[in-house]
C-alpha cells in the first residue's frame, strides 16, 4: 500500500495493518524532519509530489519489492505540504517471516523512493531563505 498525504502520518495505524500471525519480523523505517542540512539550521520543510505519477511509480516499486523479496506485505507513506522539525516525512514498514527479507526490502524501498519517486523537498532555513534540494 502506498499513501501520499498532507495529514500527519498515523504510524501506529500503519503498523497495525502489517500485523500477521505468519510474520516473524516487521522492519519499520521512519524518515524524520531534522533541524539542519549541510551545516545550516533548518526551520521547516515542505514536500511536493507529482501525485498521479508518484502513486503509479510507488505501486510499481512496491510490486517490485514484493516480487524480489520473500515478504508478506509492505507499506510506504509519504507526507506532502509543510512539515515541522521532528515530524515523520516518510514511513516504511515491511512484514516478513524472517528478518533478512524485511531489512532488505525496507532498504530497497527507501533507496528507490529517494532516487526515483517524483517528490521534491524545499528547505526553509533559520536565516529566512529557502531552497529546493537538488535543484
Amino acid at each position: 500500500m502506498f499513501d501520499l498525504t498532507r495529514q500527519p502520518i498515523d504510524t501506529a495505524a500503519l503498523r497495525a495493518r502489517l500485523e500477521n500471525p505468519a510474520a516473524g519480523a516487521c522492519a519499520v523505517f521512519e524518515g524524520v524532519v531534522r533541524n539542519h542540512h549541510q551545516g545550516r539550521p533548518v526551520a521547516s520543510l515542505e514536500y511536493e509530489a507529482a501525485e498521479d505519477l508518484c502513486r503509479s511509480a510507488a505501486e510499481a516499486m512496491l510490486a517490485e519489492a514484493l516480487a524480489a523479496h520473500d515478504i508478506h506485505d509492505a507499506i510506504v507513506a509519504h507526507r506532502t505540504g509543510p512539515l515541522e522539525i521532528g515530524e515523520v516525512a516518510v514511513w516504511i514498514g515491511v512484514s516478513s517471516a524472517h528478518r533478512d527479507a524485511a531489512f532488505a526490502a525496507s532498504r530497497f524501498l527507501i533507496e528507490h523512493l529517494k532516487a526515483h519517486l517524483p517528490i521534491w523537498k524545499k528547505e526553509h532555513y533559520a536565516e529566512g531563505d529557502a531552497a529546493w534540494i537538488g535543484a
Binding site: H78, A115, W120
Partner: protein
Amino acid sequence: MSDLAPLYGLVLAGGRSRRMGRDKAALDYHGRPQVEVVRDLLTPRCERVFLSVRAGDAEAYASRGIACIEDAVEDRGPAGGLWSAMRAFPEAAWLVVACDLPFLRAEVLDRLIAARGPDDEALAYASAEDGLPEPVCAIYEPAFRPRLEAFVCDDLWCPRKMLIRTGARLLTLEHGNPLANVNRPEEYEAARQALAVATDAKEVAAKPLAGSATCGAKVRLRYYAALREQAGSEQESLETTASTFLDLYQELAARHGFRLPPDRIRVAADGQFVSMADRIPDGAEIVFIPPVAGG
C-alpha cells in the same frame, strides 16, 4: 548506490543480421535508425555509451563522434561484444542492449538500473515467453568478468546460457513483452505495424523530423517544485514545433529561465516515464521532473 560500479552502456550493433538480410541496427521503427534510438536511451542513463561493432567498423563511426568498441573476437555475437567491452573497461558495469528490440521502453531500462545490487554479478529480465534470462537487455557487473573469461575458455558464447549458469538475478517484465525481438523481414513489418497502430491510438502527430513546414504538437505541461517557481505557474498549454522532449525542455528553459541543465531532468508523458530523446506525441500531458528529493 555509491558502492556500485560506474554504469557504461553497450549498444550491440555488430551483428550479421543473417535472417533479416540487412543490418538490424539500421532498421527504422521510430522514424530513425534503431541504433540511434537505443543510443539515446542509454546516454542519459550511463556514464559512457559505446557501440559494439565488428573489427574495422569503428573508424566510420568515429568520424561522426560516436565511440565504439570493436570486437576482439570475430562472430561471437553479444558475448563477444561484451567480452571486448569488459576487457577495455574492466572496472565498469555494462548495460548491454540490442538493436532488435523495437518495443523497448525507457522504464524497462530504469527498472533494471534501479534494481542493481552490490551482490549481483549480472541482472536481467526473465523472458515473457519462456522465463529464461533475456541477455541483450541486461546489466553485467565487473564481478561477472571472471565468469565470462571462464565461459570463453570453455568456448561457451551463448549469453543466455551464461546467465543461467551464473544464476543471474531476474526481474519480471510488466505490461506485455517490451523485449520481443525481431529477426526476420516479416517480423520487422509486423513490429512496424504494431508500433504504428500504437502510435495512431495515441494520436501522435506523424510529422517528419526534417520537414521544413512542421505543424506543431499541442501539449499540456504541469510544473512542480523548482520548475513551477521558475515558470511562475503550475501548468500551461502550448503548441510546439519541438520534436523531442529534450528540444521542448530547451525551448521552455529559454522562455522561463529554467536553470537546470537537461541532463538533470527526467520526463513523463501521459503518466509514463519516457526518454528525453523520445518524440512528443500530440496532445501529451508532460511533466518535466527536476532532481527528486523524497524521503
